[in-house]
C-alpha cells in the first residue's frame, strides 16, 4: 500500500492540479497520450564511402518505409500522413510523396517535408504528434532522412543586403565550423576537453556496437552498392554503422590537425566534429487508445517538444536553452531524466552543454553520438529518439530528453518516455 506521503501527494494533486506535472504524472498512462508503436533506423554510414553512398534519398526512404510497413504489421491504409524531415535534398517534396507510394502505401497516404536543419527529424515527430492531438489525423509516420553523399551542404545562399548588414541576421552567413570555433573561443573550451569528449563518444559507441545494442535500433537494408575500384554494381546488405573508429583515444584525436585554421582558436578537427553521413529513421505515432484498439505494441510516448532561438554565431549551445525550457514545461528536473541524447554537432558545444546544464556525463549519449555515429542532418532528430528509446529499454529506465543545436541559431528539445 501507499506510504502516507504518497497519499498526501494525491490529495495535494487534487488541490494543485497545475503542479501535477513531473516524473510521476509523465509516467501515467492516458488514452489520449501520443504513443510510438515502432521506432527504427537505418544503419548510419559514411557519406561517399559507406554502404549507403549509392542509395539516393528516394531509395533510402523507400527502403525504410517498406521496412516500417512490414515490421509494424499495420494496415498501410491507416497511415494518413508521413512527415519527412530533410534538410538538403533538391526536390524533396516530390521525393517524399513518391517514396511513400513506391514503398507500398496507398495513394490515400499523404506526405510532407519539414525542415529546421538538424532538428528536422524531431520536428517531424512533433508535427505528426500535433496533427494527432488536434484530431487532423489518427495515425502518422514521422521520418528523418538525409543522403549527404548525394547532396553536399553548400551553406548559406546569397541573401539580401538588409540581412548582410544586420548585426545578428548576418551571422547566418557563417559556416557551421566557424560557429563551433566561436563557442570554443567564447566559453574557453580547450582542444583537450573537446578531444576527450569526442574520444568518449567513440568509446561508448564502440562498446555499444560490440555488445550488439545498436542492432536493436537498426533495420538492415538491402541496397545497391558500386565498388569504387571496379565500378561494379552489386546488391549488399547494410546492417551496421561504419563511422565508429575502434580504439580511439583523446591522445590519438589530439594528433589531428585543425579543420579551420582561419578561425581562432582552431580547436575543431575532423576527429572532434560530427561526421558527414547517410541515414534515416522513422517512428509510427498514434493515440494510446488507437494503438490499443489496433493491437499495436507501445514502445514509448511523446511528451512534448519545444524550440528556442539564440545568436546564430554560437548556435551550438542551443540545447542549453531548449533543454531547460522543455524540462520546465513538463515539470521535470534534470535528475528525473534517465538519458539525454544531445546531438554532437561539434565537441565544443557538447562539452559546453554538459557543463552548463550540469548533466551527469554517464547519462549523456550513453551509446555515443554524432561524432562517432555520424550526423545525417535531417535524420538525426528522429535517430536520437530511436536510440534513446532503445537505451532506456536496455537500462530499464523511463525518461529521455533529446536535444540538438540547430544551424541559424536555435535549439530544439523533446521529452520521451519508454514503455518497454
Amino acid at each position: 500500500m501507499a506510504l502516507p506521503g504518497e497519499r498526501l501527494s494525491t490529495v495535494l494533486g487534487h488541490l494543485n492540479p497545475m503542479k501535477a506535472t513531473g516524473r510521476e504524472s509523465l509516467l501515467k498512462k492516458n488514452p489520449d497520450d501520443i504513443v510510438i508503436t515502432l521506432a527504427v533506423r537505418t544503419p548510419l554510414t559514411k557519406a561517399r564511402k559507406g554502404g549507403l553512398k549509392d542509395t539516393s534519398l528516394d531509395d533510402l526512404l523507400i527502403t525504410l518505409l517498406t521496412a516500417i510497413r512490414e515490421r509494424s504489421n499495420i494496415d498501410p491504409a491507416l497511415i494518413e500522413d508521413v512527415c519527412v524531415g530533410n534538410v538538403l535534398a533538391v526536390g524533396q517534396t516530390y521525393i517524399a510523396r513518391s517514396a511513400v507510394i513506391a514503398a507500398g502505401f496507398p495513394v490515400t497516404t499523404a506526405a510532407s517535408i519539414c525542415n529546421r536543419f538538424c532538428s528536422s527529424g524531431l520536428l517531424a515527430v512533433q508535427n505528426i504528434a500535433n496533427q494527432i492531438i488536434s484530431g487532423s489525423i489518427d495515425v502518422g509516420l514521422a521520418v528523418g532522412a538525409e543522403s549527404m553523399s548525394g547532396t553536399p551542404d553548400d551553406g548559406a545562399p546569397n541573401m539580401s543586403a538588409k540581412i548582410i548588414n544586420h548585426p545578428v541576421a548576418s551571422q547566418n552567413t557563417q559556416p557551421m565550423g566557424q560557429t563551433s570555433e566561436n563557442v570554443a573561443a567564447q566559453f574557453n573550451i580547450s582542444r583537450h576537453a573537446m578531444d576527450a569528449f569526442a574520444a568518449s563518444s567513440f568509446q561508448k559507441a564502440e562498446k555499444a556496437q560490440k555488445a550488439g545494442w545498436l542492432a536493436d535500433e537498426i533495420v538492415p537494408l538491402n541496397v545497391q552498392w558500386k565498388d569504387p575500384k571496379t565500378g561494379e554494381v552489386s546488391t549488399k546488405i547494410v546492417d551496421r554503422d561504419d563511422g565508429i573508429r575502434y580504439g580511439t583515444t583523446a591522445e590519438s584525436l589530439g594528433k589531428i590537425r585543425a579543420a579551420f585554421p582561419q578561425w581562432s582558436p582552431s580547436a575543431t578537427t575532423g576527429g572532434n566534429a560530427s561526421q558527414i553521413t547517410d541515414g534515416a529513421a522513422g517512428l509510427l505515432l498514434m493515440k494510446r487508445s488507437r494503438a490499443e484498439a489496433l493491437g499495436q505494441p507501445i514502445v514509448g510516448k511523446f511528451c512534448g517538444a519545444t524550440v528556442s532561438g539564440l545568436e546564430p554565431r554560437i548556435m551550438g549551445i542551443g540545447p542549453t536553452l531548449a533543454i531547460p525550457k522543455i524540462l520546465e514545461k513538463t515539470g521535470l528536473s534534470s535528475s528525473d531524466v534517465d538519458v539525454f541524447e544531445i546531438n554532437e554537432a561539434f565537441a565544443s558545444m557538447g562539452v559546453y552543454c554538459v557543463e552548463k546544464l550540469g548533466l551527469d556525463p554517464a547519462k549523456v549519449n550513453p551509446r555515443g553520438g554524432a561524432i562517432a555515429l555520424g550526423h545525417p542532418l535531417g535524420c538525426t532528430g528522429a535517430r536520437q529518439v530511436v536510440t534513446a528509446l532503445s537505451e532506456l529499454r536496455r537500462q530499464d529506465k523511463r525518461i529521455a530528453v533529446t536535444s540538438m543545436c540547430v544551424g541559424t541559431g536555435m535549439g530544439m528539445a523533446g521529452v520521451f518516455v519508454s514503455e518497454h
Binding site: M1, A2, L8, P17, A20, K28, K29, N30, S134
Partner: protein, 343 residues
C-alpha cells in the same frame, strides 16, 4: 440541521440506509486518511439528534461505503489497505468477510441496484472488481490502468458499470458483451473534451485532469454526471459518447470530491468539494411542469463545513430534500437542501 461529531476521525463517505430512513453510515479515517485506523459509524437519526448505534474499527483508513441492497444489516467498506470488508451491523467488532485482492487503496464501493446480488470496488491499483457477498474471490476484474476513484453500477441495468479515474476518462462497461480484448469496455469518454460548436471543425477542450466522482441519474438512464480536479461538473449522455458534455456546471473553487443525483427530482444534483461547500445544482432540464429549463446552474449552497467536504448522500425517504454530508472537519451534518435553495 442535525450534527454529529466523529471524534478523532475525518469523514470520507456517508450513505443513507436503503431500508431505514433513520439510519446512516459514515466511513471515516484517522489523520485525514493519510495514516492510521479507519472507523465505520452506524448512526441513528432520532428525536434527540444523531445517536451512534454502533461503530467498527479497521486497521487502515476507510474511503467509501455502500449498503447491501438485499440485506438490511450488511454494508461494505473500501479500505486503505486494499481490502474490501463486509460488516453485519447486528454483530459486534469484526467484519463477516474481508477480500484482499486490490494491490493499493480501494477508493469506492457501489452496490448493484438492479440484481442486488453483486457490488463493485475500484482502486488506485487501476482495476475495478465485481464481487458477490457469497463468494470468497472476486467475480471479475476490469482494468482501467489508472487510479480509479469511483465506480458505479447503473441504477437501470444490472450489467452496466461505469468508472471515472485519474486519466480524465469516463468508462462504460457492459458485462453482457464478450470479454475479448476490450474487457467489456464499450465506451471510453474523454471528460475534458468540450461540446461540439456548430460550424466549427474543432471543439473547445480542456486540459485532462483527474476525475474523482460520478453518479448515474436516477430517472434518465443515459445521463451520468462527473466531476473532479478541474472543478467543473459535467453531464454526459452515453447514447452519444462523442458529443462531449451535455451540461457544464461552473462554481466550485476547488476539486469536487463527491456527486449525488437526487432520488426525487431528475435535474437536481448535490456536490461536495474541497472548497468546503456543498452545492445544489440543476442541470437545466427541470422536470417540474411550468418551470423554466434554461442553463444548468447552482441553486443552493451549504457553507457550514469548516474543512474539505468529502461525502454527500440524499435521503431516499420522506420529503424530498433531506441529505447528509461529511467532512474532514469531523462532523456529519444532516440538513434539508430546500433550506439552502433559492437564495
Amino acid at each position: 440541521m442535525l450534527e454529529y461529531q466523529t471524534q478523532g476521525f475525518n469523514g470520507y463517505a456517508v450513505k443513507y440506509s436503503p431500508f431505514f430512513d433513520s439510519r446512516i453510515a459514515v466511513a471515516s479515517s484517522a489523520n485525514f486518511g493519510l495514516v492510521g485506523n479507519g472507523r465505520l459509524y452506524i448512526l441513528g437519526l432520532t428525536a434527540n439528534g444523531i445517536q451512534p448505534e454502533k461503530w467498527f474499527d479497521t486497521q487502515d483508513s476507510l474511503y467509501d461505503t455502500a449498503w447491501s441492497e438485499v440485506h438490511e444489516n450488511q454494508i461494505v467498506v473500501a479500505c486503505g489497505d486494499g481490502s474490501v470488508k463486509l460488516f453485519d451491523i447486528s454483530l459486534d467488532q469484526y467484519p463477516i468477510q474481508s477480500w484482499q485482492e486490490h494491490n493499493r487503496e480501494v477508493y469506492s464501493v457501489s452496490w448493484n441496484l438492479v440484481s442486488k446480488d453483486t457490488f463493485s470496488s475500484s482502486s488506485w491499483d487501476g482495476t475495478i472488481k465485481v464481487w458477490s457477498p457469497h463468494r470468497p474471490q472476486s467475480i471479475l476484474t476490469l482494468p482501467t490502468h489508472s487510479c480509479t476513484y469511483s465506480s458505479a453500477f447503473s441504477p437501470h441495468s444490472q450489467s452496466i458499470l461505469s468508472s471515472v479515474s485519474s486519466d480524465s476518462h469516463l468508462r462504460i462497461f457492459d458485462l453482457r458483451t464478450p470479454p475479448s480484448a476490450s474487457n467489456h469496455l464499450v465506451h471510453l469518454i474523454p471528460i475534458h473534451g468540450g461540446p461540439p460548436v456548430p460550424g466549427m471543425a474543432s471543439r473547445q477542450s480542456f486540459q485532462p485532469s483527474e476525475c474523482l466522482t460520478h453518479d448515474w441519474n436516477k430517472y434518465r438512464p443515459n445521463i451520468i454526471a462527473t466531476a473532479g480536479v478541474d472543478t467543473i461538473i459535467r453531464t454526459f449522455d452515453i447514447r452519444n459518447p462523442k458529443a462531449g458534455p451535455v451540461a457544464q456546471l461552473y462554481g466550485h473553487e476547488y476539486a469536487v470530491r463527491k456527486l449525488a443525483w437526487s432520488p426525487h427530482l431528475s435535474d437536481l444534483l448535490l456536490s461536495a468539494s474541497y472548497d468546503m461547500t456543498c452545492r445544489v445544482w440543476t442541470d437545466g432540464t427541470s422536470s417540474t411542469p411550468g418551470a423554466s429549463g434554461g442553463a444548468g446552474r447552482e441553486i443552493g449552497r451549504l457553507n457550514r463545513h469548516t474543512e474539505f467536504v468529502t461525502g454527500v448522500d440524499w435521503c431516499l425517504f420522506g420529503s424530498e430534500g433531506w441529505c447528509a454530508s461529511v467532512s474532514w472537519d469531523k462532523r456529519v451534518l444532516v440538513w434539508d437542501a430546500r433550506a439552502v435553495m433559492g437564495r
